[in-house]
Each structure stands twice: as C-alpha cells, then as structure tokens.
Subunit: 159 residues, 6 copies
C-alpha cells in the first residue's frame, strides 16, 4: 500500500517530519508530493523545497520525495496510490481539510484521506509562522530541522 | 497491520458501516471494539450491539467484532494493534476527538489514531439522532441497516 | 405563508421574543410550537411554558402558541407550514442546528429552516443561563419578560 | 415581500442555484445582487457574472439579476427590500456571516438577514474551489451549471 | 489587586496548578474559589477539593483557598476582588467561557475576566478526562499532583 | 507591573479604546505597541496610527503609545514588560490568538498573554470592517472615535 503526503512544505517543519515518520510505519511506502503551486508566492522554489525534504528524510526508509502540479488525484493515480496523508493540528483549518477530502473523493472515489494528529509539541507549528518569526529575527531552531535553519539564513541574507 | 475501530455503536448506523468497509481496505484486519460503557445508559445491551454489528458486517472479509471495557489502549495491545480508526463527521465534536487522540498517545506512545472522513450522505448521521427520530415515529430506513430497523422496532415495542 | 417557531422555551427569554417579533414581519402567520420534551426534565411544565408565551406575545398580531410532541415535521404539516424559524446566537451550537436542519429536510423535502440572527444585546441569553443565574440569586430582569420573572420567583419559592 | 440575494457569484455554482430556487418560494420576488467588488480580482467581469446568472435562472419566475456597488443596505433600500438571503454551508465562515448580519442590522435596523442551509450535496461547493479544480484540469460538471462550464473553458483558453 | 480563580477542581489538575502559579505573579493576591455546585454530582466533596488544593498550593505565597456557593460575582465582591482568572485550553468550550464573562460583566460592571492560556503540555488535561482514565485503570501521574493520585486511589478503593 | 497592548490599529476602534481603558485599571502602566508591519499594506502610516492613538487616549493616565517592528517579545523586554494584553471578540480568530500566545511563550518563557473579552456592543467591530464600511459610504461614527472619522475622511478624499 502506497501513501502520498502532499503539501507545500515552504518550508518543511518538525511537525511535517513527525507526520512523515509516523505515516511510513503505517503503509508500505510513502511518496511526499511537493506542490508546485505556481500561482502562489513561495519563499523557496520547488527545487529548494524538494532538496530540503530529501536532506531531512534521507535516513528514513521507504520514503520518496517528488514535485507535482495539477490535481492531487492525478498525482496519486500516477503513483498507484489511493491514500492521502494529512497532518491535523489543533489550531487547524479543519473545515478546509474536510472540504478538500470530500472534493477529492468526488474526483476519485477510491481515494481515502487519512488524518493523523500532530503530537503535542508540534501542534502549533506552521510554515507561515516559521517564516514570520525568522523574518523578525527570532530563533526557529526548535521548529524546523537544521537544514531549514541554514536555508532560511541563506534566503534572507540574499535579500 | 491490525486496526481497531472503537465505539459505542448504540446503534450501528450506515455511517459506521461505511467507515468499516473503507478501513478494511487500508489495513490487513479490522477489529471492531464495542465499548461496554457500563456507566452510561445505552438503548441496546453490549450483547445486542455486538450481534447487530456481526449481522451487518457478516459479508465483509477480515473484520471481527469484540466487546471491551477498560482503556482503549489496553484493548488495542491485547489485539496486537496500534492503529485506532475514527470516523470524522463534518458536524463533529472535533475537539473531543483531538483530545482523546493525544491522551491515548500519551498512554501508549506507538499508538496512532487515524481519522477517516464520513462520506457526504453519511456526514450528518449520529446514533443519538437515529434513536430520537425513531422514538418520535420517524423513518430511519435510510440511516441504519435493516437489522437495526428491526431491532429498534422490537426495542420500542417492548417498552 | 405560515411559519413555525419551535423550541422548549423553558423559560421564554427576551431573545426568543425578539425573534418572534421579527419573524412575524416576514411571514403571514407564526405558530410558536412548544416542545413537550417528555424525556427531559424541564423547570416549567408544558402548560406553564405555553401560558407564559401567550402572556408575553399577547399583543403581537398573527401569532399563535401551541404545544406539540413527536416529530417537528409532523407538527409543521398539521399546521400547513413548511417554514421553521430558528434564532441563531453567536454563542451557539451551530453544528447541532445545521444537523437538525438537514435531517428535517431529509424527512420533509419541502421544508425550509430559516435562521435569524439574534440582535447584539440578546446574543448571549440562553434559557439555561437564566435559570442558573436566578437559582443563585442573581437578577434576570433584563434577560426575560416580567411574567417570567414572576414565574421563576413562584417556582423557586415552592421548592 | 422582496428579498435580495447578494454575492460575488464568481462563478455561480449549483449551490447558489439551489438557494435561488428555494428562496423564491419563500418570498414574492427575489433580486439577485451581483457585487461589483472593484477592489478584488474576479475571474469573471461583473457583466459576465450577471449574464451567466441570467442564463442559469432564465426559467425561474419572479427572479431578477442586477449588479451593485456600494453598501448592501443601500442596494436593498433602492430595491424596496429589507430581507437579505444568505446560503450557509457546513464548511462555512459562520463567524464572518454573523458579523456581517449584525453590522448590516446596525446600518439599517429594519433589515433581516435570513440564512438558508445548503442541501447535503451542495454543502461543500464554493466558487473558489470550482476555479481551483478547473484550473488544474479537473471536471466541475457536477458543481456548476452547463453555461458556467462553457464560460470557464473559454476563460482559460483565452489565457 | 486581588484576583479570584473560580472552578470546580474535581479534582485539581497540573493544568490548574500551572494557572495558579502564573496568576499569582500577575496580581498581589489570589483567592482560589472552589464552587460548591450542590446540584451537580462531584467525585470529591467540597471539603476534599479544598483540602487537596491547600495541600498542592501549600508552598505558593499569597494564595488562599475558599469554598463558595451562590453567584461568582457575590463571592468576588465579598473578597474585594473584581478580577476573575480563567484558564483557556485549546480544546476548550470557548463559547461557554465567553458567555459567562459577558454575563458576569452584566451583573457586576467593574468585573474583568482575565483569560490565561494553558501551556502546551497542559493544554489537553481536563478534570473529567482524569477521572475517566483513572476509573479505567490508566496512569494519571503526569496529569495531576501526587496528593490527587492518592486521593483518587482512596476514592475508588472505597467504592 | 507594566503591560503591553500590541496591534496594528489600522485604524483604532472603540473596541480597542475599551480594552485600553480596562487594561489600565488592571496594571500599573500600559504601553500601546503599534506594529510597523512593513510587509503589509496599511491604510494609515505608522506615524498616523500612533498620532490617532495619542489623540484618543490623551486623557487616560499611565498610558503610552509607541511604534515597534521586529518580534513582540523583544519590544516587551525593552519595555520591561512580560504581560501582553489582547482583546478577544466573539467573532474572533481564536485559534490564531492561541497559536501566537503559545509561540510567544516559547520565545520568552516569563511572558503571559492576558485576554480580555470585548464588551457586548464592541464585540463585532474590527478595523477591516470599519474601513470596508467607510469606503462604501457607510457611517462609522458609532464604531470609531471622532478623530478617526476625520482621518478616514481625509484619507479617502485624497485618493
């Protein structure tokens, strides 16, 4: 059974990594799908986000990182997967997740969206909060892996 | 991988059945755990609830129905399972589910609570609503399997 | 067009009265349906709740007060109404209202549940809060009509 | 009694149409008010959104489609209406709707905002979701009327 | 400035203790008000709950524990306080707290309800969850102070 | 004890003023921190927002208005404060406030975020709503102090 964990990962947080490590114990293989959301402004390019994920999950077996654009359901079919993983935070746009899960099921009836709950210490991390804190000079070392701290430093230095 | 689907099932609804049928395709075996919530008043006894579930899931492979009391995490360990399934309704006490998932993880760190989203037509069914409508003389044939309709008729006739 | 405003009204609050006065301007006639929720413990009997409503809405044209048990949809049909009025408070179990509205529509497809928003000053009144404050010796004169203040005094004196 | 159903309708969905058809049975006439939200980027121009609505509601009696800018309460007064219709989705920014209803009542005290609940199958449709799915190549034929499918095709082909 | 921290404390949790320790740094004195909610069934008597609190906060300066019945606002006035402290959990009936704060302000206009946010690790503890887990045989040592663990053991042994 | 009340105040509303007047009675001194959110488009410049606040709180003792950029926790430390005040509206992004409070506590462990509840009549005012209504020609005299009405008139005339 192959599961897909889709997201923007702009950037990857320790909350994302926690979901990756737990999801991979539930299914045979995990494909992390990094969305090339062309329309939106991302801090990191698709290539950078993929590279950071690959560095961070390097040691985890049965995990693969790929970029995708278009519909999630098409990416899932092309990876022979019908299981999408989503992390759910206490402070979460639950309604949005619910709407997406039902819409995706309408587009691909065999698809299941499986929600895992973020652990206590990761419950309040979001990528946008990480960027905000870093931009204002705060320390994000407890929120993201080391490779992301370095990437953030490089990114803001170049500005 | 063995998953446990715990609940009161007082009574079983078509929404529960939908979750059973979908969960069983995600994992190797599914144990439906019927809670003997001794403290609470249930309409159906533990034995009746188990019997109704067995009748309703008779045709589904790799599914087993068991009663349990005590902590869910102990029931899971005794069934060699670390995966709990929960159905999530749009109209859901999400906060309660979240609290339980985190508490259970605190009691049994390998445990994962996996949330599946109820399909559109089953989103608004709850066991308590079924009992309320039936008690007031409404038709619940679209909300519960036939065996439950018959059991409700017998239950209220005896009162 | 006849509308029904169902509820327990245990007791009637100024928030309920506000909804009555506004609903009656939207439709030709308003039937206030007082639920004989036999199962639940109410502070006031069905007869007392009906009498208080009749006293309070005595001056409002085109309004009638009736008790009912059984399904709301049956009460509506017997009153040739397909419009149910519900007041919505900021502090509201919105999910519950939504579930009821969809369930009722499933039982009676022509039925419409029409939600009106409680005005600012009435947004936080609930019948249970009124009873709690009165029981503890607080002043509820701004929350309920005078006839209810008198009824509460009589009720608690008799205890 | 004249009711106004205001919105952006960028584009019209089957959920909107469902509200139109039900609202028109509750009041004598329905004016659909299409907001010329000059500030925001819309996919369809005001003229296009009006034309699509007129095509879609062509067969519905007592319905009129008009554009407006400025305050909703001024548009309502100029149409001799004091009733605004809003559809409410399970997945809804309920807080926003509530705030608007109270604010509008503050600006125009006779005004009533009447909320209708979207039916089960339309509960999860939003205009922005329709645009997102279409943009990514998904099929939106079940979410919007045929004329909108054609308009979306033309719009994205021209890009 | 004297603050009051009201509650049922049935039983006291580490989350409550965290709020006590933080509130006492914000104001000159803290009175913990233990509600004698005569109507409700509590596991521990008023005297037991007061004794447990006194044992647990023994080392904290400027804190006093008192029982009260009747309205909170009357208890506050008799303690020359106009500041009520409430802990707020992520998984919280926020609506209920908001309603109480506004109602209390209506009864006593100088009163302020001050909300403090429970720290991450205490966010999901509730007294009822503690009782449920303990009743089912689970370990609550990380959720409540030692004196409460002992009291729970005694309580359930006597049953 | 010095408290900080941070915000954008774009523009100041009567709801903000209400919080200022109440917070100042709870602590010895109040510093209003006006965020120089350089990234976002504000209607009023930092200087204008500070000037409007100074005009509006001119008569209130022990209140000071300052601009700041960077992290809130750094602004607080430089003002020898560890107490942040936030107003909480019924129609509120409660999740966001909670996330910020916990994040800030992670960055500065002695920090306390103290939430005060907006009074009934101010519960539904937000700066963005004020701007929207004014832009569309509505009257905002009941929502903001007079100096803000004048500033809004000047701002929109100059456009």
């Amino acid at each position: 059974m192959i599961a897909v964990y889709p997201g923007s990962f702009d950037p990857l947080t320790k909350g994302h990594l926690d979901i990756v490590k737990r999801a991979v114990t539930l299914f045979d293989r995990l494909v992390i799908g990094v969305l090339d959301n062309a329309g939106k402004n991302t801090l990191f390019s698709l290539e950078e986000r993929i590279a950071l994920l690959r560095e961070a999950v390097g040691g985890v077996q049965h995990v693969e990182v790929k970029g995708f654009d278009g519909l999630l359901v098409d990416f899932m079919k092309s990876n022979s997967s019908r299981i999408a993983i989503r992390g759910m935070r206490a402070v979460s746009d639950f309604d949005y997740e619910f709407q997406m899960a039902l819409t995706n099921k309408g587009l691909y009836s065999e698809m299941e969206t499986v929600f895992l709950v973020s652990r206590g210490e990761f419950t309040f991390i979001s990528s946008s909060l990480v960027k905000e804190i870093f931009r204002l000079g705060g320390n994000v070392g407890e929120l993201v892996p080391d490779c992301v701290v370095r990437a953030l430093s490089g990114k803001f230095r170049n500005r």
